[in-house]
C-alpha cells in the first residue's frame, strides 16, 4: 500500500485531517486502534456551547471518512514501527483479527443479538454492558462487529459458536489471524487524542468507594440517549433519577499531586452537563465547584450566564476537601471552603460528578518511541517551535493535532487537524 499521508488516530481530529487531505487529492491511510472511528467525541452526549448532539454532527464526518475513495481505513489496528524519513516513511501496521470477515459481514447484528456472553462496555465507560461480539455503538464505522477474544466463550472454553450458527453471511471466522500491513507515506499526522484521569488516587473524593460519586465521562454516558440508561439520569446506587447534583472541577488538573496543567475544557463540559441535567429534568439544581471559571471561546461567557440565569446552576469558588457518604440515603456530602467568603460549609447532593482531567494517551510513550518524537514534561507531544509551527513535532514530516498536543476543545482540535493537513500538503508539494 502506498499512501501519501498516514494518519494515526480516528477521533474527530484524525477524521478531519483525513477528510481534508483526501479532498486535496492525496491518498490517506487512517489507522484507529479501536474497532470504530469516532473517538471521544462519539461518547459525548451533547457539545458546548451550542448543545449540538455530538453524534449528530460527528456521524456525517465519520461516514464521509468511511466512504471516501481516497481514504483507506484500518480500524482495530496499531502502528508497530515507522522507518525512513520525511517523504519516504514506511510503517508496519498490525491489523488485529476481528474474527469477522469484513467483506462478508452485512452488519445485520444477529450475531450480537444471539451472543450469550457479556463484558463491560468501553464505549459506555463501564456504565453498561456489551456482548462478547460487538460493535462499540450503533453508528460505528465500519459497521462490522469484532469478537473480544478475552470474553468469548468459544475462545475461552472452546464451545458456544452461537454467532457462527446464526450468521447468514458466513462472516464469522474464528481462525482469522492478525495481519501485518506495510504502508508508505510521505508525511504522518499523529492524532491519538487523550485518555481520562482516573480519580481513584484522590481518596478524599471517594471515587470507587462512594457509589454516587462518578466521573464526567460516566455521566456523559448516563445522560446520552444511546447510553445504558437511555438517557435517564439514574444514579448508580439505587437507580433513583437525580435532581440535585454537584460538579467538582480540576479533578486531576491544576493539582501538584497529579497534573499541574489545566485541562482546558472541564469548566465548559461541566457547565454543559449541568445544563443537560436541567433539560432532562427541569428544575434540577446543580452546583459547580471551581477555581477559575475558564470560558474563553466564542459564546462561552454567554453560555455560563445562561447556565446561571436559566438552568438553576450555582458556581462556588473553592476546591472541595472531602466527600463523605451519608449512609442513610447514599448521598455524597461535599465539604468545601467558599473562598469568596472564607466560610467552610457542606453540601449534600444526590450525585457528585468529578470533572476529571484530560491526560496523554496511556500508550503515548510507546507511540513516541515508535515515531521517534519527543514529548513534553507532561507526556503530550512536544513542539520544537510552538510559536511559528504549532502542529509540528520534533521529527520532520511528522505532525500532530488535537489533544495529543495539549488538552483543547473540539473547534480548536478541528482547526489543528486542518492545519496539519495543510502542513502535510506543503511537505508533499516539496515545501518545508
Amino acid at each position: 500500500m502506498n499512501n501519501s499521508v498516514l494518519i494515526i488516530g480516528g477521533g474527530i481530529a484524525g477524521i478531519q485531517a483525513a477528510i481534508d487531505s483526501a479532498n486535496m487529492g492525496f491518498q490517506v491511510c487512517l489507522v484507529e486502534k479501536s474497532p470504530s472511528i469516532g473517538g471521544r467525541m462519539a461518547q459525548l452526549d451533547k457539545t458546548f456551547p451550542t448543545n449540538d448532539c455530538a453524534m449528530c454532527i460527528l456521524a456525517p464526518k465519520m461516514i464521509e471518512a468511511g466512504q471516501h475513495a481516497n481514504i483507506k481505513l484500518l480500524t482495530y489496528s496499531e502502528v508497530l514501527s515507522v522507518e525512513g524519513e520525511v517523504g519516504k516513511f514506511k510503517a508496519k501496521i498490525k491489523k488485529k483479527a476481528r474474527s469477522v470477515d469484513e467483506e462478508k459481514c452485512t452488519g445485520c447484528g444477529i450475531c450480537i443479538e444471539k451472543c450469550p456472553w457479556k463484558a463491560d462496555s468501553e464505549f459506555d465507560a463501564g456504565m453498561g454492558k456489551r456482548k462478547a461480539i460487538y460493535v462499540p455503538f450503533p453508528q460505528a464505522i465500519p459497521n462490522v462487529p469484532v469478537i473480544d477474544r478475552e470474553h468469548c466463550a468459544y475462545f475461552l472454553k472452546g464451545k458456544c459458536r452461537a454467532c457462527e450458527r446464526f450468521c447468514e453471511a458466513g462472516a464469522i471466522n474464528y481462525d482469522q489471524e492478525d495481519e501485518i500491513i506495510e504502508v508508505e507515506a510521505k508525511a504522518i499526522i499523529l492524532a491519538t487524542g487523550f485518555d481520562l484521569y482516573d480519580p481513584t488516587p484522590l481518596r478524599e473524593y471517594g471515587y470507587g468507594r462512594i457509589q454516587n460519586v462518578i466521573t464526567a465521562m460516566e455521566y456523559e454516558r448516563l445522560s446520552s440517549a444511546s447510553g445504558p440508561t437511555a438517557g435517564e439520569l439514574k444514579r448508580p446506587s439505587d437507580g433513583k433519577i437525580v435532581s440535585d447534583i454537584a460538579f467538582i472541577q480540576c479533578v486531576g488538573s491544576r493539582d501538584v499531586r497529579s497534573n499541574r496543567y489545566c485541562s482546558s475544557v472541564c469548566c465548559m463540559y461541566g457547565t454543559k452537563e449541568a445544563i443537560l441535567a436541567y433539560e432532562h429534568r427541569p428544575g434540577t439544581k446543580s452546583t459547580i465547584f471551581y477555581i477559575d471559571l475558564r470560558a474563553v471561546g466564542k459564546r462561552f461567557q454567554e453560555y455560563i450566564q445562561r447556565a446561571e440565569d436559566e438552568y438553576n446552576i450555582t458556581y462556588i469558588r473553592g476546591r472541595p476537601g472531602n466527600i463523605e457518604l451519608n449512609r442513610r440515603n447514599q448521598n455524597p456530602t461535599i465539604w468545601y471552603e467558599d473562598t469568596t467568603t472564607g466560610e467552610t460549609k457542606s453540601l449534600e447532593v444526590e450525585l457528585a460528578i468529578l470533572c476529571q482531567a484530560l491526560i496523554p494517551p496511556r500508550d503515548i510513550q510507546k507511540t513516541a518511541s515508535i515515531l521517534s518524537i519527543e514529548l513534553d514534561e507532561y507526556g503530550f507531544v512536544k513542539t520544537p517551535d510552538g510559536l511559528s509551527h504549532p502542529v509540528d513535532t520534533t521529527r520532520a514530516g511528522i505532525l500532530a493535532c488535537g489533544c495529543v498536543h495539549s488538552p483543547k476543545d473540539i473547534p480548536d482540535s478541528v482547526v489543528q487537524a486542518s492545519a496539519a493537513a495543510a502542513r502535510a500538503a506543503e511537505i508533499l508539494s516539496g515545501g518545508t
Partner: protein
C-alpha cells in the same frame, strides 16, 4: 397509473426521535400514502447500516423517489443524497422531512401531538416528493489563485502555506507595512522571545516568495462573482486594479480596546493599556516600583459579555517582564478568573507566582478603586481570601483590555456577503466543526478577525483556512447545488425587481430580441428564493421548490 415509486425511511435517532414519537406507527401510516411502495424505520438511518439499506431498497423496490424523516438537512442532506446517487438515483429526487427538530425536540412534553405532527410532515413530504424532478449540476472552473485580505501573522501564514503548495496569492494589506498587530508588540508568550524575531523573518519570506504578490497601502474595494471566479477590485491610494481569484481568505485581525474614561484612563498620566506598556517595555521602563494591573477592563461586562481569551496571558507576560527587568519592582495583577488554559499557559502562570507577582481576585460587584487626583497614587481592592480591603501603592496602573472587532468589519461583511456574530467578529459556518469556513462557498476566515487568538492559534487557523481554500483549487472545479432560480422568458416583463433584490448579485437584465429580460447566472445563484417570491409576473420559479410542489404540500396539510 402513476409511475412514481416512493420509499420512506423513518429514523428513531436513538431516543432523540424514538423516545417521543411512535416511529413504528408513523412508518405504518407512511405506507398508506399515495405512491409509497415501501417504508421502514431505522435506529439510526445515518448509520452505515441505514445508508446501505437505502441503497439496497432503491434497487430492490425500484424506488424513484426517496423520503427520509429524521433530523436536519443542515447536517445530513448531503449524506442521504449521496446514498441515492450511489444507487443510481438523481440526488434531487430525495426529500428530507425533519421530525426531530420540528417534532420530537420542540414537542417533547406532548408525545401524541408530536407523533401526529410527524404524520402531517411526512404526508407533506410525500406530496412534494411525487412532483420532484431530477436536476443536473453545472461544473464551474476554479481559478487557482487566492486573495488574502490582511497582512498580519494570520494572513501571511495563510499566504505562505498556499504559495508553498504552488498557488498564486494576492496578499492585500491596508497599512504601509506587512506585520499587523505584532509590529506593536514587545515580546510574545510563552517563550518571551522578541515579537520582531517572529514577524520580520515571516515578512521576508512572504515578500521573497515568487507566488505571493504583496499589495500594501491597498484596500479591497469590491468583490463580485462566486467560488472559483471572484472578480476583485483593489484600491491602492485611489488607483484601481482588477484581479481574478478562485478563493478568498479573510484575515483582517482585530484591535485593542482603548478604555477611555475607565479608571481615569485618559485623565491621569500614569495609566496605560497593556499595549502601551509593551511600547514602554520595548524602549525601557522608568523607575516605577509599584505596578498594578487590572484585568477584564471592558470585558465580561453586560455591554461586552465576552472574554478576550488572551488578555490574562498578556498581563502575566508583561508582569513577568517588569519583574525580570527589575526584581525589586512590585507587581500586582487584579483579576477575575485567570484564563491560563492548557499546559503552557498554566505553567507560565505558576512561574509568575514563583517570581513574586501577586495575584488578587476581585469580583464585578466590588471592583478596584483608584486613589489620586492627577496621577494614580494607590489602588483599593477587596481581597476575597483575606476578607478585607487592601490599599496597594501604585506608580503605574496598567489596564488589561480585550481585542475588539474592527469597525469596518461591517463593510467587509457586506462586500463579501458573509455574516458577523453578535460581538462584531466574523461568523463561521459552524461553531464547532467548520470554524474557518464561512457559509458562503469559497471564502474562509482565520485569526483575530474571527475571535481573539494568540500567535500559534492564529497560525493554526491560517493553515486550516488554507487547507479549505486549496481543496477546490487543487480539484480545479466545483459543482454547486442545482437548486437555483429559473426565468420563464415568456412571462418576464423585464421590470428588474429581481435584480435589485438578489443578495448574491446573480441576476442582470439582458437584451434579447429587443426586449429586456432577467438573466440568472446559475453558478452565482444560491437558490434563496427571494426573486421568485417578489416577481410580479410570476416568471421566476425555484427548482426543487416549484409552486406546484409547495402547493401540493400545503394541500396535503389542510386536507
Amino acid at each position: 397509473m402513476s409511475d412514481v415509486r416512493i420509499g420512506i425511511f423513518v429514523c428513531h435517532c436513538g431516543k432523540n426521535i424514538g423516545g417521543v414519537i411512535n416511529v413504528p406507527e408513523v412508518t405504518e401510516y407512511a405506507k398508506t400514502l399515495p405512491d409509497v411502495v415501501y417504508a421502514e424505520h431505522n435506529l439510526y438511518t445515518c448509520s452505515a447500516e441505514g445508508i446501505s439499506s437505502i441503497r439496497q431498497k432503491i434497487s430492490e423496490h425500484k424506488l424513484n423517489r426517496v423520503v427520509v424523516a429524521s433530523c436536519t438537512p443542515r447536517t445530513h442532506e448531503t449524506l442521504f443524497r449521496n446514498a441515492c446517487e450511489a444507487a443510481g438515483l438523481n440526488k434531487y429526487l430525495f426529500e428530507f422531512v425533519n421530525i426531530r427538530d420540528q417534532c420530537s425536540w420542540v414537542h417533547m412534553q406532548e408525545p401524541e401531538k408530536a407523533t401526529e405532527k410527524a404524520r402531517d410532515l411526512i404526508r407533506m413530504g410525500v406530496a412534494k416528493a411525487r412532483l420532484l424532478e431530477p436536476l443536473e449540476e453545472v461544473e464551474i472552473r476554479v481559478t487557482p489563485s487566492c486573495l488574502v485580505i490582511g497582512g498580519g501573522v494570520a494572513g501571511m501564514s495563510a499566504a505562505l502555506n498556499l504559495a508553498n503548495q504552488g498557488f498564486e496569492v494576492y496578499l492585500v494589506e491596508r497599512d504601509k507595512e506587512l506585520g499587523g498587530l505584532l509590529l506593536n508588540l514587545n515580546r510574545l508568550f510563552t517563550i518571551n522571545g522578541k515579537a520582531e524575531e517572529v514577524i520580520i523573518p515571516l515578512i521576508e519570506r512572504v515578500k521573497n516568495h515568487q507566488k505571493i504578490k504583496v499589495h500594501t497601502s491597498t484596500e479591497v474595494k469590491g468583490v463580485a462573482g462566486f467560488i472559483g471566479n471572484f472578480d476583485v477590485t483593489l484600491d491602492q491610494k485611489g488607483e484601481e486594479r482588477k484581479i481574478k481569484v478562485g478563493t478568498i481568505i479573510v484575515a483582517t485581525g482585530a484591535e485593542v480596546l482603548k478604555p477611555v474614561g475607565q479608571y481615569g484612563y485618559g485623565d491621569k498620566s500614569n495609566i496605560l493599556t497593556q499595549l502601551e506598556l509593551e511600547e514602554r517595555l520595548n524602549k525601557g521602563m522608568g523607575d516605577e516600583q509599584n505596578i498594578v494591573m487590572i484585568n477584564c477592563v471592558g470585558a465580561r461586562i453586560p455591554e461586552r459579555p465576552y472574554c478576550g481569551r488572551i488578555c490574562c496571558m498578556v498581563a502575566i507576560k508583561n508582569a513577568v517582564l517588569i519583574k525580570e527587568n527589575d526584581p525589586r519592582a512590585k507587581v500586582w495583577v487584579l483579576h477575575r478568573d485567570l484564563m491560563t488554559y492548557g499546559t503552557e499557559f498554566e505553567k507560565y502562570y505558576q512561574k509568575a507566582m514563583e517570581k513574586g507577582i501577586r495575584f488578587i481576585r476581585y469580583s464585578l460587584d466590588k471592583p478596584p478603586e483608584i486613589v489620586g487626583n492627577n496621577k494614580v497614587k494607590a489602588v483599593k481592592v477587596y481581597h476575597q481570601l483575606m476578607g478585607k480591603e487592601m490599599v496597594l501603592p501604585c506608580d503605574m496602573l496598567v489596564l488589561t483590555t480585550p481585542l475588539i472587532p474592527h469597525e469596518d468589519n461591517q463593510d467587509i461583511s457586506r462586500m463579501l456577503r458573509v455574516s458577523l456574530s453578535e460581538h462584531g467578529f466574523f461568523l463561521e459556518a459552524h461553531l464547532k466543526l467548520q470554524p474557518v469556513e464561512f457559509a458562503t462557498d469559497g471564502i474562509y476566515i482565520c485569526g483575530c478577525a474571527r475571535w481573539p487568538t494568540d500567535v500559534p492559534e492564529a497560525i493554526s487557523q491560517a493553515c486550516a483556512a488554507s487547507a479549505k481554500a486549496v481543496i477546490p483549487m487543487r480539484r480545479g472545479y466545483v459543482r454547486p447545488e442545482a437548486i437555483t432560480a429559473s426565468v420563464n422568458e415568456d412571462k418576464c416583463s423585464g421590470c428588474g425587481t429581481c435584480v435589485l433584490l438578489c443578495p448574491y448579485n446573480a441576476i442582470e437584465l439582458q437584451s434579447k430580441d429587443g426586449k429586456k429580460l432577467a438573466h440568472i447566472t446559475t453558478a452565482q445563484c444560491k437558490g434563496c428564493g427571494t426573486c421568485g417570491a417578489a416577481c410580479p409576473s410570476g416568471a421566476i420559479s425555484m427548482n426543487h421548490f416549484r409552486d406546484e410542489e409547495i402547493l401540493a404540500q400545503v394541500e396535503a396539510l389542510v386536507i
